[in-house]
Symmetry: C2
Subunit: 575 residues, 2 copies
Amino acid sequence: MLLRMSNLFVRTLREDPAEAEVPSHRLLVRAGYVRRVAPGGYAWLPLGKLVLDRVAAVVREEMAAIGAQEVSLPSLLPQERYETSGRLAAFGDDVFRLRDRRGAGYVLGPTHEELFTLLVKDLYGSYRDYPVTLYQVGTKFRDEARPRGGLLRGREFLMKDAYSFDLDDEGLRRSYDAQREAYIRVFDRLGLDYTIVAAATGAMGGSGSEEFLAPAPVGEDTYVACTACDYAANTEAVTTPAPAADQATRPASTVFDTPGTPTIESLVAYANSVGAGGRTDWTAADTLKNVVLRAGDSLLVIGVPGDREVDLKRVEAALYPVTVELFDDFAAHPDLIRGYIGPQVLAKLGIRYLVDPRVVPGTAWLTGANEPDRHAVNVVCGRDFTPDGTIEAADVRAGDPCPACGQPLALRRGIEIGHIFQLGRRFADAFGLDALGPDGQPVRVTMGSYGIGVSRVVAAIAEQHHDERGLSWPASVAPCRVHVVAAGKGEQAEAAQRLASELASRGIDVLLDDRPGLSAGVRFADAELLGMPLVVVVGRRLAEGYVEVRSRIDNSRTDVPVDEVVELVSTRCGG
Amino acid sequence: MLLRMSNLFVRTLREDPAEAEVPSHRLLVRAGYVRRVAPGGYAWLPLGKLVLDRVAAVVREEMAAIGAQEVSLPSLLPQERYETSGRLAAFGDDVFRLRDRRGAGYVLGPTHEELFTLLVKDLYGSYRDYPVTLYQVGTKFRDEARPRGGLLRGREFLMKDAYSFDLDDEGLRRSYDAQREAYIRVFDRLGLDYTIVAAATGAMGGSGSEEFLAPAPVGEDTYVACTACDYAANTEAVTTPAPAADQATRPASTVFDTPGTPTIESLVAYANSVGAGGRTDWTAADTLKNVVLRAGDSLLVIGVPGDREVDLKRVEAALYPVTVELFDDFAAHPDLIRGYIGPQVLAKLGIRYLVDPRVVPGTAWLTGANEPDRHAVNVVCGRDFTPDGTIEAADVRAGDPCPACGQPLALRRGIEIGHIFQLGRRFADAFGLDALGPDGQPVRVTMGSYGIGVSRVVAAIAEQHHDERGLSWPASVAPCRVHVVAAGKGEQAEAAQRLASELASRGIDVLLDDRPGLSAGVRFADAELLGMPLVVVVGRRLAEGYVEVRSRIDNSRTDVPVDEVVELVSTRCGG
């Protein structure tokens, strides 16, 4: 393929587009790969479409290699399917809904578990039919509250979604592992740096789940990675090691006046100033903070050490599918004294109480006394209150101990490029997907689902492969392997033309800058902005029989005899 | 590629699916190529997806060959773009609309003229940038009132839509001709029989337009083809040759009583019975039927010879973008006497009157007298009434004269597989798309748009390539070129396996029937249903060293030595 810039539908921009917040977005727009045409909706211009197609091709090859079969389902899906699965409510405003001319309700498919379950139920009946893994590469729609980062979080995007169907847990595990290995090969081939992290199962339900995150400063996902071992997890999925139960005998709890101390900070300062409980070394970690939430239709109080905040994303992941929000209406609950809530009365009030895993039996806390301006010391877990259970609700911080090895965790940011789930039988239960077993008895099928954000992957590659001058595509996804630039006119332009044709005739995809009337400087700047892996510059030394081969990846420059350059470039392109 | 039926996601059905009305739908479902998952929405199963991909690949190759550049635009499009172009109203209920979480209005793109116009405006400025032709292959959505025929008329379908941008009419003509030639190559390669017909421009506006119709009894489009010359046209676009003006001198028109004759039939019978105007040979063709329509906000009367019906599709094509419906509210218009309307009073009533081209000046008619139970004879066009113009409103019939040569026309049915339009400057006007000319003056750009219904083409191929036993794919789109079937087990199955692998290793796509425990009869029936062009049967004569090669296309059967079959099949597959 030989693309000529003189008639290619591409225009490079010197200025950053106003709406672009992140490097990938800025550069993909400036280099003419994509263009915004709607909120969260992008046009792929010819060079961008080539990158997108190359990413999709790698994904398809690796899916085929593990025996996954490609199909294609519609986007406009009857709403009742998502009601049956219970996900219409779970997606809430994130799903686009519409009605047809007869008033029937539809959603624009945000992900297709329901339809794939029904499709397999439709075709398959016997245990002999299983296992099967199906996938599609298609457009997905989500009504994001805040589309951002260009392709990183759009409202319409290209996704590979695969679904595995197995007869038992071991089969599901095998299908899951095959996808996991395929994902590793896909992301390796795409030149992405990535981390596989344990994930919360969130809106998908199910049990085991991992995310593939491409580390990037602009990533929306925060995850932890151990500084010593290979543990990594999404913050929603991090588990907190529980200390051993505290066996010490504690004095009885006592209540004391703490005027004007509704915050942890004011409480600690006051407690130290009066030597509460005979101590003057109180810290926030010695206090028990009780946060009131509305969880679905009920109240819920969560107790965490006072030096931690409650992270609502972690709470929602733990309580899924229940949605939660901070409770604010203390006027309606005179028993709950804002700023002075202690766990001692919650059981009596019939309010569910969950605690951070650090709040183990025997631990003693400085906490509210459920009266205005009063707190209590030596409030002992298991003696003065009994939680209804534990919950991963406290924020995760750099330096927290690794649940695997105890060494400090680091916090990182990444772009979610892939997500693999063991769904289990949730959707098979919802739609009654059974296989007739060898004994004539129905066997409930167990499923996995596996996504790759194909368009987001393009942005993730751009985030990881650029510098201040432009993009720098890995060879596996570059629109063209070689960019041929003539620095001057006349003979140089003719030689460039000739070289480009020769390279193309060897099956190498070539971009030729044959635009008339531009300076060499503009051409070089555009070559760096556009980011093909190799740039062949035909310049002044052509007169001596030399051209220059530049690597966009390592910025090396080599003068090469003009009659050797086709051979050399072919070799470097693996041909 | 080697597909094994033992694990391929396909199930053949012996029974016709209840909802399938047409052969392509019936066979594509029975053979496991597609499956209905929503009203007008189909899942493409693995074999169907392969056919769809092959059709799309041919389209892409021919688009690239004429220099059209591939891009990809979103489906979720801001409604105001379609308001600006005036098409939101024109599409009416045919377009799906929705609101996002903030209440902003969107349409699901039914076709993308607006967005492509804006995209080109966004990137291009100078006359030097032109011409350019862009295209995409993507999902389109239309809220069809009556989705039917499976893939023939869905609500969500795959389409190739291309858009050309030129500086002048001659350029547009060149771009249009290039697309027309590309379409001819595409449909030839796809093995389709098709006719190119002159088309009405309908909802697209613009001037020149042609449709590519694949003749099929189930086709929704009626078109005419001359029995003598090569004239062909969509019925909306057929023109009626006007007879020469009638120079005869006619007696003055006279009104007479015609009690109880509100229909043409009753009028003709009565006129003959009383010898009206001294004649007893009245026929419906001698009467002038006046049909009242509501066209937009106004009334419109259309006059046609009484032996013709008014075809509202032709009227709408002629009056586009005005929508029309039959007028029914005669109570509100006491001046219009239902069943007895004549053109004599329409000018006075201020009602627009258009006539069939056969109603030329000087022709005399038997028509209504605008009084209950009264008609008039010798009502002469140009003397007793003067139409406001002519309109192609009358139904077209087999035997009507060809507008090109005057010989009889035949009526045919076809499937619209492609449509090419010279849009002209309509969208450039709506969005202000100008190129800066060499003299610094803006030049308004002129456009064409060119569609191929990629998913519908799959159905059209199936309509034209099947028999009572199943599908019969042209080699260019068959999922596999060869279907290898072992009639028996043991050695026959092993030999089939081996042959399939050898063929696949030569780059031939092979489908192998390796399903356990089926009779040879079931396998043969499935091979005929699935429709690969060549079937290699490994049966009893394997013992003597022979296998059978069957052509699904001409049903020929040849015994071939087993050690020659790979070579023979490779040759027949062009390898």
